[in-house]
Subunit: 242 residues, 2 copies
DNA sequence: CGGCTCGTTGACAATAATCAAGCGAGGTGG
DNA sequence: CCACCTCGCTTGATTATTGTCAACGAGCCG
């Protein structure tokens, strides 16, 4: 009963019903598995992948490097996420994707995705939906980046990761594993490493959340949500026909 | 020969070939036209539109308002853009779209989009591609927001708008009309109005660009690109089978 | 004319970056 | 086995960037 596509199916079923045939199609679309070590690239900028990677285990991040050398992480991916489904149509990667931890990936050939768009329109719409939710998360991050304080932004990120991990069963009460270093957190939030450290200290002192040895524990969900002005609406967790 | 979908077709043809049948399908998908006055909402947060709006004339912006009241503009749309194609699958809007100028919109019923995904898979992929390019722009904005100075960010935005407007024939040499107020620019870049003004003054003094009465004129394209660390790669302007 | 909105500027304050140093855990090689 | 190294975390001092507050001018419209 445990297949590489189980978490993807779980995620899609939060948003719409899947037929048995669609589940089989997904399961059958995996051409092979791939393991990637921590800090290695899963895909590089300018690559033209011929298959897309579904994250089965581990954490990954999309990132851009500016000519000046500065790095920005534009998305954090958890198991069940397609990290580069967009390369199916964009063809050329305009950013890299790296493994934040050791990762296991299930590879779906673009030829198979093409066939899904030709023969299984409803399943294709659900894959499209996945990329639309990625974009909704981008917009939410833009909003926090542009219009909130560093502390609120961090609180918001923690709320989001908690919700997304809960969806795929990777939380344990109010705790979850989050392997980002403070440098990576800084690249995600657009902050310096030093300031990330100060922000986490503040959240700890305000008894909202603790972050130790890669384990995040939320001490006050309501307070954290309020501080981060977080509302899960943008994650589109409603099951309805699409 | 002038139809509401002409600019959309022009944009799609930059990325792939369209058959005559596909062009007809697009033209036939317009149910009606709609005019919206400056500063009015085209769609509101929490709306559940039954049709998507293709911008035929004018400028529009997607925006989010935080509980604290602060606004962030997450996308600027120009003629030929679908401003809320994502509502076809996301169903509930997680943000608003407003008219930055008087706008003319062409409305495509979601039922028609559904039919396109069922019957015209290649055309459906091109519509999907459009939303993927929106997301690529979001990622680029995130990167500039998090990792560049206010001045570089402004330079980058001007470069991007120039490229996107050139694509639909709305530039005039090195000039283009850009109706954003400094307040709206601030909400786009995550800056205060005062700082937007200072940044524009700097760009003017460095003889890179002038912005007067809603007309932007680029005086030094190379210098502006270098300052903004701009590369059009993320706009995906390559014509190939999708 | 008067009351808008938008753009402009100066003075000052808040936020976050940079620079510098030290600490502790874990790994490695002598 | 221990010295040493590296990496990630932590903190203080100082600097840079951007925000806030306040005021004023230009253009437009009723």
């Amino acid at each position: 009963m445990t297949s590489p596509v189980d978490l993807l199916i779980a995620k899609l079923e939060q948003r719409d019903r899947l037929s048995a045939d669609e589940k089989e199609t997904l399961a059958g679309s995996i051409a092979r598995l791939r393991r990637v070590a921590t800090d290695d690239d899963i895909v590089r900028e300018a690559d033209r992948p011929r298959e897309s990677s579904l994250l089965v285990e581990g954490f990954a991040a999309r990132y851009k490097i500016l000519p000046s050398g500065r790095r920005q992480i534009t998305a954090i991916h958890v198991p069940g996420d397609f990290v580069d489904l967009h390369s199916f149509l964009l063809k050329t990667m305009d950013h890299g994707v790296m493994a934040l931890t050791a990762c296991e990936l299930a590879l779906v050939p673009h030829a198979t995705l093409l066939r899904i768009t030709e023969e299984k329109p409803h399943l294709a719409r659900l894959l499209w939906l996945g990329t639309l939710i990625d974009a909704a998360i981008h917009r939410e991050w833009l909003t926090m980046m542009g219009r909130s304080s560093a502390t609120a932004h961090m609180a918001h990120l923690i709320c989001e990761l908690f919700c997304r991990l809960q969806l795929v069963g990777l939380t344990d009460g109010w705790s979850f594993r989050c392997p980002l270093t403070q440098e990576e957190l800084g690249d995600t939030l657009g902050l310096s490493t030093v300031h990330v450290n100060r922000v986490l200290k503040e959240l700890r002192e305000r008894k909202l959340v603790s972050w130790q040895n890669g384990i995040v524990t939320i001490a006050n969900w309501q307070g954290l949500q309020d501080l981060g002005e977080f509302s899960e609406l943008y994650l589109n967790l409603i099951r309805e026909p699409r």
